[in-house]
């Protein structure tokens, strides 16, 4: 079973410091915290994109970690919505499921922010990553899309870690964590 352990990890960015000593096993984990508390910093570290100043991030049985950033435009590389979906190796039928059937030929940068989020999240979920870290995935989604995303995350295998300040429409049965006073604690 996949898991990721933060073993007495300390993270620093400028004068900001965050400490974490915790494990994330299979299932959905929701990490909350005030703005600027370090959710994005933690997301980077869990996904192996930020080296701790001390301690270690240990992934077990993780072959495909994937970090989905807050800004969907950081993920977009295709010239059209259809090409974007193809570039992720996703089934073209995804277009319909994310409500973009009429937008297949459109430049992804001409979608609304919410539509871009649907596109990137749909593609990310289609990869079946065994460690999926999502930074503020619910922001910009409309209500039906939030409910749909929560259901899709709850139904996923592997480890799913959601950084969010949303307090509605969260995945059922998720483990809760929060960042407070520069530390990650169980909520």
């Amino acid at each position: 079973m996949s898991s990721v352990r933060l073993d007495r990890v300390a993270l620093e960015r400028g004068s900001f410091r965050l400490e974490a000593d915790c494990s994330f096993g299979p299932g959905v984990h929701v990490v909350t915290g005030r703005i600027g508390s370090g959710k994005s910093t933690l997301a980077l570290a869990i996904a192996g994109e930020l080296e701790p100043v001390s301690g270690a991030v240990r992934m077990e049985r993780v072959s495909r970690p994937l970090l989905v950033l807050q800004s969907p435009d950081h993920h977009l590389t295709g010239a059209t919505v259809g090409a974007e979906i193809a570039s992720w190796g996703a089934d073209p039928a995804l277009l319909d499921r994310i409500g973009l059937a009429s937008r297949s030929g459109r430049d992804p940068f001409r979608l609304s922010r919410g539509e871009q989020k649907r596109l990137v999240l749909g593609c990310a979920l289609a990869t079946d990553a065994d460690l999926l870290v999502l930074d503020e995935p619910f922001a910009s989604l409309d209500v039906p899309a939030r409910v749909g995303l929560a259901r899709a995350l709850a139904g996923r295998g592997g480890v799913t870690i959601v950084m969010t300040h949303a307090d509605r429409y969260l995945p059922a049965g998720a483990a809760r964590w929060r960042i407070a006073g520069g530390r990650v604690v169980g909520a």
Binding site: I35, G36, D73, S112, A139, S140, D142, R146, V147
Partner: protein, 215 residues
């Protein structure tokens, strides 16, 4: 009043609508035209056809504050203090007046501790707060908050709602997916596929329908 007549802009088509002063919640599914409506009311986008008048003036003759749904795209300058000072500097206010506006907006929004930060190192939520502060520093007539709440935690949002309410902006247009924000607004409009589908109290029942429909 903001009066919109015979409007065509991107996918948005509005034959006639009048928005009263106060806080107007703009509700709708992704791609419904919320951002486009906010943009034409602020003069960020010129309509393909039709007119928008803010108290009888074109939006580009009216001061507007803009907080983008993409929090990183609201910011032009590399230092937070310069971002907040930008509207005053562009208006060629004297430096002392600019400093006063910056400090006032920063204190109001809780951004005072961020003034010396580089905008690049801000979190998404902090960027949104700075964008609000920068918008308010220009004492706008129209303040557009495009899914501003989506980037904020509950406590920060609860602290900023009264700030927005008391900002002096005659018109606040706030697009949101949060039923609580919509319920607290003076006025609400619903966009569906680029047209105004409902106004007022009828808008709020939509959230229940959306939740039910998705479940």
């Amino acid at each position: 009043m903001i009066e919109i007549r015979d409007l065509a802009a991107r996918n948005l088509r509005v034959p006639s609508i009048t928005l009263p002063p106060g806080l107007t919640a703009v509700i709708g599914l992704n791609g419904a035209g919320k951002t486009t409506l906010l943009e034409v009311c602020c003069g960020l986008l010129l309509p393909d056809a039709g007119t928008v008048l803010v108290d009888g003036l074109a939006p580009r003759e009216t001061d507007a504050g803009w907080v983008s749904a993409s929090s990183d795209r609201s910011l032009l300058f590399s230092r937070v203090a310069d971002e907040l000072a930008s509207s005053g500097r562009f208006a060629r206010l004297p430096p002392q007046a600019v400093d006063r506006c910056v400090l006032h907006a920063a204190r109001l929004t809780g951004a005072a501790g961020l003034l010396d930060r580089s905008t690049r190192t801000l979190s998404g939520g902090e960027q949104s707060v700075v964008a609000l502060a920068a918008g308010l520093a220009g004492a706008p007539t129209v303040l557009a908050l495009d899914e501003f709440d989506g980037h904020l935690d509950r406590e920060t949002l609860a602290g900023l709602i009264p700030v927005v309410r008391n900002s002096g902006a005659r018109y606040v247009l706030w697009s949101t997916h949060d039923p609580a924000i919509a319920a607290g607004a003076d006025h609400a409009i619903v966009l569906e596929g680029g047209v105004v589908a409902a106004e007022g109290g009828a808008a709020l029942s939509l959230f229940d329908a959306w939740e039910g429909g998705a479940a």
